[in-house]
């Protein structure tokens, strides 16, 4: 089979993760909870280890369930610390994930000592260059893309549907919680719905494309878009565009220089952010000059 087809599928898969993450990440950035993705990438470790211990299976879907449970648990603890114990959002996130990660490390050390071979990297640090080893073939020859893509694509559809149908609720609870509450809108519901989808999509993407890539996609493209636009929908769309652009640039750069694809894609998101930052600084400065000149 032609190699370029594999290349295209790698880019399509990365772009799907990019769009899923940019859509959710836009709301995280606006709610000042951008670090939640990073937190989840660490705090799911005990879930993975426990899933393995309980099921004695190394099947990835078992571990994904463990991870997903701990992803949701992470959100519950963060919310509890933030709302009930009145901690700052950043402190709540910091406490939760370091603590859960530490538990995961201890569990892992304890059980690997007992001769069990569990490699956290098999779940947490997938590498996108490997996805084409798992192909979806129909009738033995019709190639329908990598398994990873079909794993991630439904998540993208769920996230898209959630944001399209829940747009008003997400917008008002991100913008003005107290006001939303005065209208009888339940902030808690919207927060948990959003955070559960963040958990689901990060965990589902870890295995195929790697944690770094997911966490990077969740924050950097929406942050770039935030610099450029003054409306929510354009911010989300631009976030997706930057994510796709990074996937293409990062992929071909990695291929030309034989580097890590995930690494190069994340670097590309960073470079796009930098360009946007410089542009927005120049733009704001020239605006200021104009208003002074008037």
């Amino acid at each position: 089979m032609n190699e370029w087809i594999f290349d295209i599928w790698t880019i399509i898969t990365a772009s799907t993760v990019a769009c899923t993450s940019a859509i959710l990440g836009s709301f995280l950035v606006l709610r000042k909870k951008a670090m939640v993705g990073d937190a989840i990438s660490h705090s799911v470790l005990p879930g993975i280890v426990l899933a393995y211990i309980v099921s004695e299976s190394r099947a990835s879907w078992v571990m994904l369930i463990g991870a997903a449970v701990f992803g949701v648990l992470t959100n519950i603890i963060i919310e509890f610390l933030n709302k009930k114990a009145k901690m700052n959002a950043d402190a709540s996130i910091g406490i939760t994930f370091t603590w859960l990660f530490a538990i995961g490390v201890i569990l892992l050390a304890y059980f690997t000592e007992g001769g069990i071979d569990l490699d956290q990297e098999c779940v947490l640090f997938g590498e996108i260059s490997m996805i084409n080893l798992d192909k979806v073939l129909v009738d033995g020859n019709l190639y329908l893309g990598p398994y990873a893509f079909w794993f991630i694509f439904p998540v993208f559809i769920i996230v898209l549907a959630f944001v399209v149908f829940g747009f008003k609720g997400l917008k008002i609870t991100s913008f003005n919680e107290d006001y939303a509450a005065s209208l009888g809108i339940r902030n808690g519901f919207w927060n948990y719905a959003l955070m559960s989808l963040v958990s689901l999509s990060t965990v589902m993407s870890f295995e195929s494309v790697g944690a770094i890539l997911v966490v990077g996609f969740l924050v950097i493209p929406p942050a770039s878009a935030y610099l450029l636009t003054k409306r929510l929908i354009p911010m989300i769309v631009l976030g997706c565009v930057f994510g796709i652009l990074s996937s293409i640039i990062g992929f071909y750069f990695a291929k030309s220089f034989n580097l890590s694809i995930s690494g190069c894609i994340v670097c590309a998101t960073g470079i796009i952010f930098l360009v946007n930052l410089i542009y927005s600084i120049i733009r704001d400065r020239s605006r200021k000059n104009i208003s002074i000149a008037q």
């Binding site: 829940g166 609720g169 991100s174 003005n176 005065s182």
Partner: protein, 263 residues
């Protein structure tokens, strides 16, 4: 009291440490302009939020229009304190005002034409229609406040809660807001607002609630704003503040922010 709009019954509120409101108890009739005044940190914002059940009291209860607040949410409107708003949020003036038409029930439905028309009228009434496509950070302080008042007007409520609507506004906006308040009162609506300027309180407000964690006094403005009550709420500082206020007024000191877009 007949036709009660708000009945606050012995509420005590605490966030984590000491109580912020202690055993506060008062009633408010309908159809009045009422002011909550008190020093910074005296619990004014918390009182508004507790009445709307955004903050839950440790003890006591609140009735609005003789029922649980959740049953009458479609009859109340809210202008939050400007410090609580994220002004950098990517949202336009029109989008903000349209939120006045949201409710717990219609969140999954599309915004209707009628809603858009109501939002336009609300913007018109605060003279902000021409700015409807601006992002909210691109407005002056007075314009921002007017947008948030328009959002409350778009709610078409009977009872309005406004948290320091006069904070950081220019002269023109102050006038507009006062006109709106008086018009609401004419229409038989009730307005409860947190306010600082004792002069306007004396002049325009029928009822006053004087707060300093405890309720110092509540009732008709003239009866509440006595030297004794003010001293017990503010300490001796107030009389000084009022003197300074008078001086400033006399000299017409240009303390107010210029309304750069209104020229």
């Amino acid at each position: 009291m007949e036709n009660k709009s708000i009945d606050v019954h012995n509420i005590t509120v605490s966030y984590s440490g000491a109580p912020v409101l202690w055993d506060v108890d008062f009633e408010l009739p309908t159809g009045v302009l009422a002011g909550i005044i008190g020093p910074n940190g005296s619990g004014k914002t918390t009182l508004l939020k507790t009445i709307m059940n955004i903050v839950k009291p440790v003890s006591g209860n609140v009735k609005v229009f003789d029922s649980n607040i959740d049953k009458v949410r479609n009859r109340i409107a809210y202008v939050p304190q400007r410090e609580s708003v994220d002004w950098q949020f990517p949202i336009s003036v029109m989008e903000v005002v349209l939120m006045g038409r949201y409710s717990g029930k219609n969140l999954f439905k599309r915004t209707t034409k009628a809603d858009k028309e109501i939002a336009r009228e609300a913007l018109e009434s605060v003279r902000m229609l021409e700015f409807k496509d601006r992002q909210i950070s691109e407005l002056s302080g007075g314009q921002q406040q007017r947008v948030f008042i328009a959002r409350a007007l778009a709610q078409k409520a009977d009872l309005y809660f406004m948290d320091e609507p006069f904070a950081g506004v220019d002269m023109a906006t102050e006038k507009t807001i006062l006109e709106i308040l008086l018009k609401l009162k004419d229409e038989g609506k009730t307005v409860l607002l947190v306010h600082h300027d004792l002069r306007t309180v004396r002049e325009f407000f029928d009822y006053t609630i004087l707060l300093n964690t405890r309720l110092v006094a509540a009732g008709k403005t003239a009866e509440v704003l006595t030297e004794e009550n003010l001293n017990s709420a503010y300490g001796a500082r107030l009389t000084l503040l009022e003197e300074v206020g008078k001086e400033i007024k006399k000299k017409d000191f240009p303390l107010r922010e210029k309304d750069f877009d209104d020229k």
